[in-house]
Symmetry: C2
Subunit: 416 residues, 2 copies
């Protein structure tokens, strides 16, 4: 059971956008036992698209195509699909009604013939109604293989994948189970780790695949296995994890959770423990708050937050003492502690979290080195504070700080 993903659009090939769709689709297919054999990104060019379709058909059972479904002339996926399947385009009344409805509700310009053409679909296709946009998805079967055409807009594509594509694949194809288990390690290089694991690796069962994924001080060890006996493959992985854990005890930091991001795990713990939280952000500049609010259900536990970017606003708006800043510098654990306490009191939350630091590239109102970040977490019973050096790259400093706070909340505050 193999799939190929074909993404269509010059914007990918000229680097105007990064293709994030394929990673999402790859991950979702894996969860239901479908391996992605290849991802192919090609131009909006008829001959090239036809060639890619033909090659994918020989390589894979499921071909998922994204992009090129807009109403304008540069979008040619639908017509090219019709040519490939020797089919014609016909109007789908349900899609037309949906497009008209979207225009009536959300769009100020009048509906045009171009918009109405979004309702044209391959006559042989099964239409997948797009709740979030005008371009419908299509499911086309041929010789026991299936082509699935989806819009390239990420949230439209995601909606169709979850609502139709995954259930329909599960329904149609007998699939093995695919299991990935990823162990996180810190502090040992890729090759040093590999040397240490050499004997274990050499004796791994053949059906088990091991990969080393190094990145900046961390190495992820991924074990992958495929099989129709779910319990059987789980047992094989468990047995190997049991063998490897004692070998990496000093550097092992946990298992990677692929379904839930770490902020979702923290959010669920807050909800379960009936606790509320508020943030006072300086160097993280709103990123900490946004990390939570991008998911739904945030109002159950997040009271709010204050981004006091200017030093003076820490005093005027948040109520940090000017003296504490003068004595300790604005980037200090003392200031972080006051920020965390003040924000907790201001928002009447159970937990208050603060960041103050220098994300760079220039030094700000403090003399500390670029990349220095102080974090404090305040509860009714105690305040904890920390200082970290997050490196000299702005994006890295901000994201590492957010990750560190999530880790601290999970490991030190919401333990139960």
């Amino acid at each position: 059971m193999k799939a190929e993903i074909i993404t269509i659009g010059d914007e990918i090939l000229i680097g105007q956008i990064v293709d994030t769709n394929s990673a999402f689709i790859g991950k979702e297919l894996n969860k239901i036992g479908v391996s992605v054999y290849q991802i192919t990104s090609i131009q909006d060019d008829k001959d090239h698209i036809l060639k890619a379709f033909a090659e994918a058909e020989t390589n894979a059972d499921i071909i998922i195509i994204t992009g090129g479904l807009g109403p304008t002339k540069d979008d040619i996926t639908k017509h090219t699909l019709a040519e490939y399947f020797n089919d014609t385009l016909i109007q789908n009344d349900a899609v037309l009604a949906h497009v008209e409805d979207l225009f009536a509700k959300y769009i100020s310009t009048p509906i045009s013939d171009l918009n109405r053409q979004q309702a044209l679909v391959l006559s042989k296709s099964e239409v997948l109604q797009n709740d979030f946009g005008t371009a419908p998805g299509m499911w086309i079967e041929k010789n026991n293989k299936v082509f699935i055409s989806l819009p390239g807009v990420p949230f439209e594509m995601k909606g169709l994948i979850s609502k139709y594509v995954l259930p329909k694949i599960q329904d149609k194809f007998k699939r093995p189970f695919i299991l990935h288990k990823t162990l996180l390690t810190n502090g040992l290089g890729e090759s040093a780790l590999a040397l240490r694991l050499e004997d274990w690796e050499n004796n791994l069962p053949k059906e088990l695949k091991l990969a080393y994924l190094p990145s900046l001080g961390k190495v992820r060890l991924r074990l992958s296995i495929k099989g129709f006996n779910k319990k059987g493959i789980e047992k094989i992985v468990e047995a190997e994890v049991k063998k490897v854990l004692p070998l990496i005890e000093d550097v092992f930091s946990g298992f990677e959770d692929t379904n839930n991001s770490i902020e979702q795990i923290v959010a669920q713990k807050l909800i379960d423990q009936n606790k509320t939280i508020a943030f006072a952000e300086s160097c993280t500049g709103g990123k900490l708050t946004e990390t939570f609010t991008k998911h739904q259900g945030t109002s159950q536990y997040l009271k709010g937050s204050l981004v006091c970017y200017a030093t003076q606003s820490k005093v005027d708006v948040l109520g940090v003492s000017q003296e504490v800043i003068n004595v300790n510098s604005v980037v200090s654990e003392q200031v972080a502690v006051e920020m965390a306490e003040q924000i907790r009191l201001k928002f009447k939350s159970d937990i208050g979290v603060s960041t103050t630091g220098n994300a760079g590239p220039d030094k700000g109102d403090s003399d500390v080195e670029v990349g220095t970040v102080c974090i404090a977490i305040s509860t009714k019973h105690e305040v904890k504070s920390y200082t970290f050096y997050m490196g000299n790259h702005r994006e890295k400093v901000i994201n590492k700080s957010v990750n560190k706070i999530l880790e601290l909340l999970q490991k030190e505050i919401l333990i139960n």
Copy 2:
């Protein structure tokens, strides 16, 4: 002159990482007149890699391969390249010295044979020394085509592309110039825009390619052209831009500066006009602030912001009147106006911006439909308020709101 990018690694196909390398390479190649014909992502599997090499060789002149060069067993690119070119691996002394040097300087574990094997290269290859890691790049020529193998770690790959790959391609191949010009428009849908531009589009010179790139309330119009006469193709593009501008006067917001995003343009205007700003965010949940703070230099114009997610915090922390909320609902222009005024006064900024709305998926403390967003912008002289329907998808509502605010700031507030 065509290139193909081949990225090797299971982590891409199972969606464990997003392939950002290809977008970078695509953009850089375009700048020097090389079109990317296809991007192909494949597994760490010898047969599949050999097949991809063979196909790429028939399609393209330049084949850039990233990934699979690590010291561990799952990395097989180098050995597969040797097989493909019927070549052997030999030790390169300069690379070995570099690897030993890196270990002595930065790595606490002792150097091992696995690390030393990083110095093995194809005997027929020209070695590209990797300043930022242990895996060297390789440049291999065959029948006037060139294969370039690079490590998959983004900053190592980027270093090699800039230092060796681009200059060597410029040296070896005669290339045309490629020119992209992207016009930004706001407030008109893709198809409405296409209808308006129909005559102009039908009369475009054949060598000019037009693409519509819609995203959340914006449509980018990209004109692309290729040719050996640089001045000639620039003239063609300029002539068409001159023709199209009067047609889109009311929705045109500028040219895409691939170096500057719209928030950077707004930020620069704030700095130029010596104005400061503060945000009161509800439904956008910190995203508006984070959009600015992710870039450097924010403290020149951003005083700070308040994310008052809970309704009560709008009253308690921000100082919105409870009565105004009771009378008008928490999602209303009246509340947005009070929020914008209060935040401006609280942070003593020149401009205050607020959002209150319902990003969904459930209705919150207001009865208004999911996707309703009220925005207000307050200055010393006036307050403007607006209501928009941003659709029924959380991510879309948040991002569209942020885009709308950037547009309003640019068009209505920072005009000079």
